[in-house]
């Protein structure tokens, strides 16, 4: 791997060249990852780096990062309510803090702070409870008055005449954003350098099991590939892939939308989220306002959401930030998010030998990418969960050990 550094830039002659290979699929691998999003690529990286496995393939039906990894609004935070989730998401935030160095690739992680607005007495109580719970769990989160929130984010309107006045906000200062494409590319480049085969335009169409029921191969659009271990990291398509092994999942897939404005000079210093009136916003380094809207009401694989859903969010944005009322939106799009009944992910062994699944990240898994890859690789390599992901099984829906983060996750991220 050609290492990036200031010196490398200064001494560079000509083009950089491709940063990872485009290999033909081999007949057999020690492990196959289904899905070349951030989570799948991070899993392959950790399998190769931490567990000494080098015969690994990542099979991606389209192009890497073309799923939710490349479609999300990149908010990273760890102020979830329960201990299990605090541990899971803060594990990831700690990895984000070192990720550009780990990968030798600038993922543009920016800890600019995430402000979550409270508009009702109930919001105030819930967020203050979150602040206290987070601090007990060693996760930073603090309560700001409306005036303090405006000081932190000057474009914010806090006047009393609003339909949903801002009564205060919870601020996680270590939270922020990162560049989504760079995350996929950085992991791909680092995994490739460790010998991982990243195979694009290769859809998995079947999971083959031996007489004892264990995984023995996957069928793909580029032929059959033998492997004793399959890790499914297919986000919105998880139910479809798991059905290939006869496993029914506690998941539903919904379209979730985002949109970006025309680029403008830096005006927006942080990330602001409002679960109650449903809007979240930040400004990218290109200058676009990045705005997250809601999910559609019904399950769908259409990868586009309804216009009334994004209209609703834009109305909320205009109410909170009147300065933006005359801005134009450049693009909107949708991704398909896989939602569990308790809004927490599944990172676990499946009830089929050799099959593992990392899914259910729903509307908010980008923030977990580095932690999720680390934990899922551990689970696949050792055939048992790491203590951090041990509670995040499929069986929790049988045993009643739900980790209900609906309030922390809402849809907003």
């Amino acid at each position: 791997m050609q290492r990036f550094s200031g010196l490398a830039v200064a001494l560079r002659r000509g083009a950089w060249g491709p940063q990872w290979r485009a290999p033909e699929p081999q007949a057999a691998y020690d492990a196959v990852i289904v899905g070349g999003g951030g989570h799948g690529l991070a899993t392959a990286f950790h399998l190769a780096r931490d567990h000494g496995m080098s015969r690994i393939a990542v099979l991606e039906k389209g192009w890497i990062g073309g799923g939710n990894t490349g479609r999300n609004t990149t908010i990273i935070r760890s102020n979830y309510l329960f201990e299990e989730s605090s541990r899971l998401y803060d594990h990831a935030v700690k990895k984000w803090e070192a990720l550009s160095q780990t990968l030798n690739y600038n993922v543009m992680f920016s800890q600019r702070g995430v402000l979550m607005l409270a508009h009702t007495v109930h919001d105030v109580q819930v967020f203050q409870r979150h602040v206290h719970a987070n601090r007990l769990n060693g996760v930073d989160n603090e309560w700001l008055s409306a005036e303090e929130a405006k000081e932190f984010c000057p474009p914010l309107r806090i006047s009393a005449g609003m339909r949903y006045p801002v009564l205060g906000a919870a601020l996680q200062r270590r939270a922020g954003t990162a560049r989504h494409d760079a995350v996929a590319w950085g992991y791909a480049r680092a995994a490739d350098a460790l010998g991982v085969d990243i195979i694009q335009n290769c859809a998995v169409t079947g999971i083959v099991r031996d007489a004892a029921g264990a995984v023995e191969a996957v069928e793909t659009t580029r032929g059959k590939i033998r492997t004793p271990k399959v890790g499914v990291v297919a986000a919105g398509n998880t139910s479809v892939v798991m059905a290939m092994a006869g496993v029914r999942m506690p998941l539903e897939s919904y379209p979730l939308q985002a949109l970006v404005s025309e680029p403008i000079k830096p005006v927006f210093p942080c990330v602001v989220m409002s679960n109650t009136i449903h809007a979240y916003i930040s400004q990218s380094d290109k200058g676009e306002l990045v705005i997250g809207a809601g999910t559609d009401a019904y399950i769908s694989y259409s990868q586009r959401g309804a216009l009334h859903v994004s209209t609703h969010t834009l109305e909320a944005i205009c109410e909170l930030f009147p300065d933006f009322r005359r801005m134009r939106m450049l693009r909107n799009w949708g991704g398909i998010v896989d939602v569990t009944p308790d809004r927490s992910p599944i990172i676990a062994k499946a009830p089929v030998k050799g099959l593992y699944v990392n899914c259910g990240w729903g509307t908010g898994g980008f923030k977990a990418t580095p932690g999720s890859g680390h934990l899922f690789a551990w689970t696949m390599a050792k055939d048992e969960p790491h203590p951090i992901n041990a509670p995040f099984t499929i069986e929790r829906f049988r045993d009643g050990h739900l980790i209900d983060e609906a309030a922390a996750a809402a849809v907003a991220h």
């Binding site: 029914r248 009401a297 399950i299 694989y301 009944p341 829906f397």
Partner: protein, 89 residues
Amino acid sequence: MLLIPCPYCGPRPELEFAYGGEGGIARPADPAALDDDAWGAFLYHRSNPRGMHVERWRHVHGCGRFFNARRDTVTDLFACSWKVGEAAP
């Protein structure tokens, strides 16, 4: 926005409706007789297909009634809808 065929009122805009999730999931007649696996599957496991889906809708801002429909989850086009208690077409 979807145009949803209410079997009582005809096609109406999505905003008049509430989605009711996967259809055809009957509550077990004797829940106490189920083991944890079966009860968990009843509560939480869903088909979530990429393709035809049988689902429930409720025309909350219209006739107020529940009904069933079949919709393709890739194109979002409705194939048909039918009243509760009727056989699926």
